[in-house]
């Protein structure tokens, strides 16, 4: 029987639909033209120009500080949450799970407004710190879900075996539990990092003066600045994000 070509065509069409806009952006970032409408030959001038944009570097620094900080803290809390979800039986666990899971599906704009109102009500000055807190809140959910996945096929008699062989709580944690969960923890952390570094909506609400992050900087450049520069910057961001996600996926697969 001859195999139908429809699935292949449909798949290719869908991928083109997904990636064509991004390809246009990437190719245009190498376009020498000031305006994206005409092709004037390959050039790296926009990438070179980026080096001199001090505001971009400032925004990148903010973004990195927040991304590292938020992913680190959310890894600690998210791992603990996943552990608590998996290990303890309680009637409240269903609610616990729902609350951890909710931020994954909640509209970002709601979270953004909610956090903004909350910070204002508390009288906290908006700035890097509030962005950091906001990012931690949604990153926890992602980390918890990834680590939970690892825990589900974790043989807990291994922990009992370690205790049986003389390991106390501390030794069990560092010699057995953490090494075995490390792929999940790192994958969760990388995911949190990519989410944090390109978050726009929530950040937009809770950012204050002087705390511009890279995505917000890009947004304001679209309004006031030069499109080719944005193309170059976006391409770099794209490469960084894809690399992180690829690593995260690799770690999840290796673990299986």
């Amino acid at each position: 029987m001859k195999r139908s070509r429809v699935p292949l065509v449909a798949t290719v069409a869908m991928l083109v639909f997904f990636y064509l806009p991004i390809m246009v952006l990437v190719i245009n970032s190498f376009n020498a033209s000031r305006f994206g409408s005409t092709w004037e030959g390959w050039s790296l001038r926009w990438y070179l120009r980026l080096l001199h944009e001090r505001e971009i570097w400032y925004a990148l620094k903010n973004s990195l500080i927040i991304a590292f900080g938020a992913s680190f803290v959310s890894v600690l809390i998210g791992t603990a949450a996943a552990f608590a979800l998996h290990r303890y039986a309680s009637r409240l666990q269903k609610t616990h799970y729902a609350m951890i899971f909710a931020p994954l599906v909640m509209p970002e704009i709601l979270m953004g407004i909610g956090l903004l109102l909350f910070f204002v009500a508390l009288g906290v000055n908006l700035g890097l710190f509030t962005i950091f807190l906001a990012h931690v809140t949604f990153c926890i959910s992602y980390v918890a879900m990834v680590v939970l996945g690892r825990l589900q096929d974790f043989d807990f008699s291994i922990i009992e075996a370690a205790q049986d062989l003389g390991a106390n709580w501390w030794t069990v944690t560092w010699r057995v539990l953490v090494p075995l969960l490390m792929p999940g923890i790192v994958a969760g952390g990388l995911l949190a990092f990519t989410l944090s570094i390109d978050d726009f909506v929530i950040t937009f609400f809770v950012a204050g003066p002087g705390s511009t992050t890279l995505p917000i900087r890009i947004y304001s450049m679209i309004k006031h600045g030069s499109p080719p520069l944005i193309n170059a910057l976006s391409t770099i961001l794209l490469v960084v994000t894809f690399t992180a996600v690829w690593f995260s996926q690799r770690l999840m697969e290796d673990a299986k």
Binding site: S157, I158, A161, Q163, D164, R175, L180
Partner: protein
């Protein structure tokens, strides 16, 4: 075994919610003994083992090891080690590192650890597999690594939680022999948990049969098979036939006469001194019957019953006859010599006599719920459930 009680459970109970997993168990194990906890799943045997390992705290009672109360000690402070059913090897460590784990935690000198590990690798014959990770070795090898990892700690008691359950039949039989050899070699006390009567029978010095959180009987394999103390033990270990009766008369203290519906009066050994009028089960193992065409000459302690053959199943090692007498379908096992030269083998539909010695029948009290369940099982099923694996005696 001169040291008397080495490991003691004193009135130990453990509840999970409303379920009594272990219900007031008292038990003593001697030093160097191979002791088995045998029972169906959910009988409390694994809970008892986990209480000894320190993974569960009993709700009542104490656990004494070598005279010391260890009830409240955490697992890592107890001189006992466990072989887990799933092996529970550390997947991120090699065979060598797995075995060394316990000693590394003690922070022993590196050289000493290396020597001990090498000794263990020789014991389990895995010197050439030492650098492999657990997912690269076979089930039997994992089992051996788990044993070495526990033994290197020189425990006072080695706990084995259904260690052979995950292995296939051939490997199980080989590991059975290896366990026996290792026990002889290291000479430490083994506490072995299993639901498999064959394993328990062939390995153990003594067995505790558990059911519903309590210990039904403790004894050597021979005692448990030949002289069961309860109908549960009789049915769980090997094959048996149950007859419902009532004590009619006590004869000279040692023996009693029983009335069983559809049978002539039956004489039976009465070691439990059950009094006249009490309902009892009479348990007779299939191989205790003698089967013949002519009515046998009976000594004064033999019982003889007429029966009709309903089925003959040749099984090589023996032949199983299903015979009908009154409402009972009775399983009779008989071994042969010169089988093919026998010109008159007993066949289907023949009238025969079955006889047994009064000492080979066991009277068991009939009172508990589990007994009633036993009655509702037709005799065929009792035979099936316990399988043919009763070569254990």
């Amino acid at each position: 075994m001169a040291n008397g009680e080495f490991l003691e459970f004193e009135d130990v109970s453990k509840y999970f919610g409303r379920i009594r997993a272990v219900d007031g168990v008292s038990l003593s194990v001697r030093k160097g003994e191979f002791f088995s906890l045998l029972g169906p799943s959910g009988c409390g045997k694994t809970t008892l083992l986990r209480i000894l390992a320190g993974f569960e705290r009993p709700d009542t009672g104490r656990v004494l090891l070598n005279g010391r109360d260890i009830t409240a000690l955490p697992p890592h402070e107890r001189k006992v080690n466990t072989i887990f059913q799933s092996y529970a090897l550390f997947p991120h460590l090699t065979v060598r590192e797995n075995i060394a784990f316990g000693l590394r935690i003690e922070k022993r000198p590196k050289k000493e650890i290396a020597e001990e590990v090498e000794r263990m690798l020789v014991l389990i014959q895995m010197e050439d597999q030492a650098e492999k990770y657990p997912d690269k070795i076979s089930g039997g090898q994992k089992q051996r690594v788990a044993i070495a990892r526990a033994l290197i700690k020189k425990p006072q008691v080695l706990l084995l939680d259904e260690p052979l359950a995950a292995l296939d039949l051939k490997l199980r039989q080989r590991m059975l022999m290896e366990l026996d050899l290792i026990h002889d070699e290291v000479g430490i006390t083994f506490l072995y948990v299993t639901h498999d009567q064959g394993e328990a029978m062939s390995l153990s010095d003594r067995i505790a049969v558990m059911n519903g959180g309590i210990i039904e009987q403790v004894g050597t394999p021979g005692e448990i098979y030949e002289a069961p103390r309860s109908s549960f033990v009789a049915a769980f270990i090997g094959d048996t036939n149950f007859f419902e009766g009532r004590v009619a008369e006590v004869v000279g203290g040692e023996y009693s006469r029983l009335v069983i519906d559809g049978f002539p009066e039956v004489l039976c050994f009465n070691d439990k001194h059950i009094s006249v009028g009490n309902p009892v089960y009479l348990s007779i193992r299939p191989e205790k019957f003698h089967i013949s065409r002519e009515k046998p000459e009976t000594g004064n302690r033999h019982n003889v019953v007429q029966a009709r053959v309903e089925d003959v199943i040749y099984q090589g090692l023996m032949t199983r006859y299903w015979v009908r007498s009154g409402e009972y379908r009775i399983s009779v096992a008989r071994q042969h010599s010169r089988f093919l030269l026998d010109e008159t083998p007993i066949r289907w539909d023949e009238d025969v006599w079955i006889s047994w010695h009064a000492d080979d029948g066991y009277m068991l009290e009939r009172y508990s719920e589990s007994d009633e369940k036993l009655v509702s099982l037709p005799p065929e099923n009792i035979g099936e459930v316990n399988g043919e694996g009763n070569g254990a005696a």
